[in-house]
Each structure stands twice: as C-alpha cells, then as structure tokens.
Amino acid sequence: MQIAIVREVIDAGSITAALKAGADGAVCVFDGIVRDNTRGRRTLYLDYEAYEEMALNQMRNLAEEAIAKFGVRDIAVVHRLGRLYVGESSVLIAVASAHRGAAFEACRWLIDTLKKTVPIWKKEQFEDGAVWADGEPFPEEIVRG
C-alpha cells in the first residue's frame, strides 16, 4: 500500500508499476488533473494545502477500508500539494485486483470519499482573482454539530 503526500510531480508510471503483482488481472487508475477553466472562467493555477498528518491518516484508513470492502489486492493513493498548473496531476489513485469490477468500484469509491473526507483544500487562481474551492459538504457522520 503506497500512501503519500508529495510536492513534486506525481509519477504515475512508477506508482502503477510498483503496485502490480502476479495475482492481478486489472488495474484501475484515476488521475485527477488541473483543468484550464471552472465554468468557463480561465484558471491559471491551483494552490493545494492540507492538514497533512491527518490527511495521510485518512488516506491510509480509506485505502484499508477499500481493500476490506471491495476485496481488491492493493492500492496506491498519492496527493500532491503546492502550486499546480493546468494539466498537472493533483491526485493519483491506482487499484490492483484479480478482477476488474472490484478495481473500478474501489477506485471510484476512493476518489469520491477522498474528496469528501480527506482534509485537503485548494485555492484557484483566475486571471481576475482567487477563490477557495467550495468543497462537497461533509458526510453527516463527520459533522454532528
């Protein structure tokens, strides 16, 4: 299980190569990349920041939960922080499994859940100003306010 927060370019090739093993028939990869616009407004770059120790713990917990829940063999979750330009990968999730169904489902669940529960934030820089990205609302079990 490779769980990491990095500040340099995410190397998808070496991450997935390290993940594969003989028992795997399928690897599903999600690569989240910086888009050039948000609703038509041109993006210059994004600044990602995290509550880093907690984010790492959460990512590790999610990966363990996904292995148990979907029966996949192994998972890599790598998130990048700092300033990212258009086309750069902010997150890479790779899931290796004997069968493809579990690989797809675990990969989708991981990115969906990561986006709601892992304490990472991004600020988007447009040509005419910057905004903090609106996150998806926390799941009910997290906010019991």
Binding site: T38, R39, Y51, V91, T117, W121, D134, E136, F138, I142
Partner: protein, 97 residues
C-alpha cells in the same frame, strides 16, 4: 486549560493566522468550542464546518483535554476538480475573540 486550534483553507485567511492557543474551561466539549467560534465566522464559512481533535473527526460530545490539537476544517476540496460549482467566499477582516 489550553488547546491549540488550527485553521485551514479559507479559515486561515479569515483569522489571518494558521493557529492559536485558546483557553477553555475544564469540561469544555467540541460543541462548546464550536459555539465560541460560531460568532467569529461569517455564515458561508461556517456552513458544514467539521472539527477534528488530535487528527480525528470529532462530534460535539467529544471532551477537550489540556494540550489537544483542535482543527477547524472547512469542507474539503482535495483531489481533482469537483462537480460542485465553485463559489466566492467573502472574507471579513480578522477579529479577535
């Protein structure tokens, strides 16, 4: 007793600092701390805020202890671009408690 409160994302800008030491009464729980901060934040930033104590999400009933690390967490937005439209959050000038 004292707890260390960490601010992230829009809150770090709102309070113009990444963290503060806050004096709270013994027996204070997350819910009570939440109320203290409620008054300091505009509604848009407050909405759907989560609180973590020592790096675990904590509900209102969780008791605080001397030296706890308490984090105020705006809705997270890691990963790739979301499907949720982004929205400008207006930052008021920082105030003190």
């Amino acid at each position: 007793m004292r707890v260390r409160v960490l601010y992230f994302g829009v809150l770090k800008e709102l309070f113009a600092c990444p963290s503060e030491d806050v004096e709270v009464e013994t027996g204070c729980n997350v819910g009570a701390l939440r109320k203290v901060f409620h008054g300091r934040m505009p509604h848009t930033a407050w909405k759907s805020m989560a609180i973590a104590v020592n790096q675990e999400y904590a509900g209102d009933e969780v008791l605080l202890h001397e030296g706890d690390e308490v984090a105020l967490l705006p809705p997270v937005s890691g990963g790739a671009p979301g499907n949720v439209p982004w929205k400008k959050i207006i930052l008021p000038s920082p105030r003190t408690v």
